[in-house]
């Protein structure tokens, strides 16, 4: 792999940029791998990367039915934060956030991590109490957050209307080292590093069946033939139910569509991420100047990657009151992604009823921020059979009632 650096740019500038190679190879699948990861999104690629980097497992294939990073990795609002209430969540999300800090250097790929600060508005008395509690919990967990006053909110976000009348801003939970990153670059950076370690990233290769004998995984059937493996990681977000069905078990997961939209680009006007959970909307400004707006998820099962108009209306209607400046903006693009929702709105990183099949799913509406932490923990689980970060996210928690209840803590999309 050619390292990207200022010298590489200078060198290529002198030879008409003829020397840039492909960032990753596109090999045909081999007959057998030590481990196969299904799903070349952020989580799948990160899992493969840390399998190689932390555990020396490099005979790995990553299978992707579409193109790399073309699912939810390319469809989210790129927000990174770790201000969760429960200890298990804070541990894995803070691990992820801290890995984002050095990701560009680690991968030698600019993921444009921008720790611009994430603010969650408190617009009801209930939210004030909730966020003060979260700030205290975060202090105990070693996650740096604070509860700030409406005046501080106004000074950080001059375009905000804090006076209401329907949704006054009463304060906010502020995480100054949260922010955003370039979502595609995260997938591309991991893919390039995986390919460099000798892993095979096989795109347009759909898994059509999972073979197992006596409760032990043997391999997968794909559109590019049969491939054997010793260990199998299923990291497919919205299609978890479909893959679990192939492996012969059911999951406590439902697929729903979550949508987002961006406006036409405007001059820089907001340099933090603002989330307003009471009104179901969140907004940040991309480096291109577009206002990136995320809304709520549909309430019904859905595998179509598109949204519905009335959700756009609900989200934008509420945000216009908080940000009057956006009322005249034209919306440019609008898309949906299929998210995998669990009963307690926390992810599942777990062994499964079939030996050596591991599953990583259930990130629901907030998977992007967790990519490096999820990959780190999942790789440890696959390599060693256990991980302190995944222990509480096991499938058993639904039977035992040991939920990690972030739906109560976050209220909505998180």
């Amino acid at each position: 792999m050619k390292r990207y650096s200022v010298f590489a740019v200078a060198r290529e500038a002198l030879r008409y940029h003829q020397g840039w190679g492909r960032a990753w190879k596109s090999p045909e699948p081999k007959k057998k791998y030590d481990a196969i990861i299904i799903g070349a999104g952020g989580h799948g690629l990160a899992t493969a990367y840390y399998l190689g980097k932390n555990h020396g497992l490099k005979n790995v294939a990553i299978l992707e039915k579409g193109w790399l990073g073309g699912g939810n990795t390319g469809r989210n609002t790129t927000i990174i934060r770790s201000n969760y209430l429960q200890d298990a969540s804070a541990a894995i999300y803070e691990k992820a956030r801290s890995l984002y800090e050095t990701m560009s250097q680690d991968l030698n790929y600019n993921v444009m991590f921008s720790p611009r600060g994430v603010m969650m508005l408190a617009q009801t008395q209930h939210e004030i109490r909730g966020y003060k509690r979260t700030a205290q919990a975060n202090a105990l967990q070693g996650v740096s957050t604070e509860f700030i006053s409406p005046e501080k909110v106004k000074s950080l976000v001059p375009i905000i209307n804090i006076d209401g009348p329907r949704y006054p801003v009463l304060g906010a939970l502020w995480q100054s080292r949260g922010g955003t990153a370039r979502h595609d670059a995260v997938a591309w950076g991991y893919a390039r590093a995986c390919s460099d370690m000798g892993m095979d990233i096989i795109q347009q290769c759909e898994v059509t069946g999972i073979r197992h004998i006596n409760g032990q995984v043997q391999g997968v059937e794909t559109s590019k033939g049969s491939i054997d493996c010793q260990k199998l990681g299923i990291v497919v977000a919205g299609h978890t139910g479909v893959l679990a069905d192939m492996a012969g078990f059911r999951m406590p997961v439902e697929a729903v569509a979550l949508q987002a939209l961006v406006s036409e680009p405007i001059k820089p006007c907001m340099d933090v991420v603002v989330m307003a959970n009471t009104v179901h909307g969140y907004m940040s400004q991309s480096d291109k100047g577009e206002m990136v707006i995320g809304g709520g998820a549909d309430g019904f099962n859905n595998y179509t990657q598109r949204g519905s108009f009335h959700h756009v209306e609900e989200t934008v209607r509420a945000l216009i009151e908080t940000f009057p400046i956006i009322s005249r903006l034209k919306m440019l693009r609008w898309w949906g992604g299929i998210v995998d929702m669990t009963g307690d709105r926390s992810p599942i990183l777990s062994k499964t009823p079939v030996r050596n099949i591991f599953i990583n799913c259930g990130w629901g509406t907030g998977g992007f921020k967790a990519i490096p932490g999820s990959g780190w923990a999942m790789a440890e689980l696959i390599a060693k059979g256990h991980s302190s970060l995944t222990e509480e996210f096991s499938l058993n928690r639904f039977k035992e009632g040991k939920f990690i209840d972030e739906s109560v803590a976050a209220g909505v999309a998180h």
Binding site: G241, P252, E254, A255, N302, F309, F398
Partner: protein, 109 residues
Amino acid sequence: MLVFKCPYCGIEADETELSPGGEAHLKRFGPGSSDEELEGYLFNRENPKGVHFERWRHVYGCGKWFHAARCTATLEVFGTYSAQTFEPPKEITDIIKTKRPGWKWRNLR
């Protein structure tokens, strides 16, 4: 936008007039049932990519709960039927079988 015909009041209702109620025909087990049965009832779902049976409520209309058969991959609606049944009626499954040869759902084929 999804449009369902409410089987009670007969109105063609938009998605905004309705409230989704999740997977239909879940079996609830009584006292003495196992942990697995309770877990299955509470959390495990078919979550199919394709034909799905759901509960909906005509919340801004007649207020009645009803059942709907819908494709989660295309949003095609196959039909709606009464809430007072443990499994989809034959008219509905016949429509689905014609439109989706080889279809199965739980133990229905």
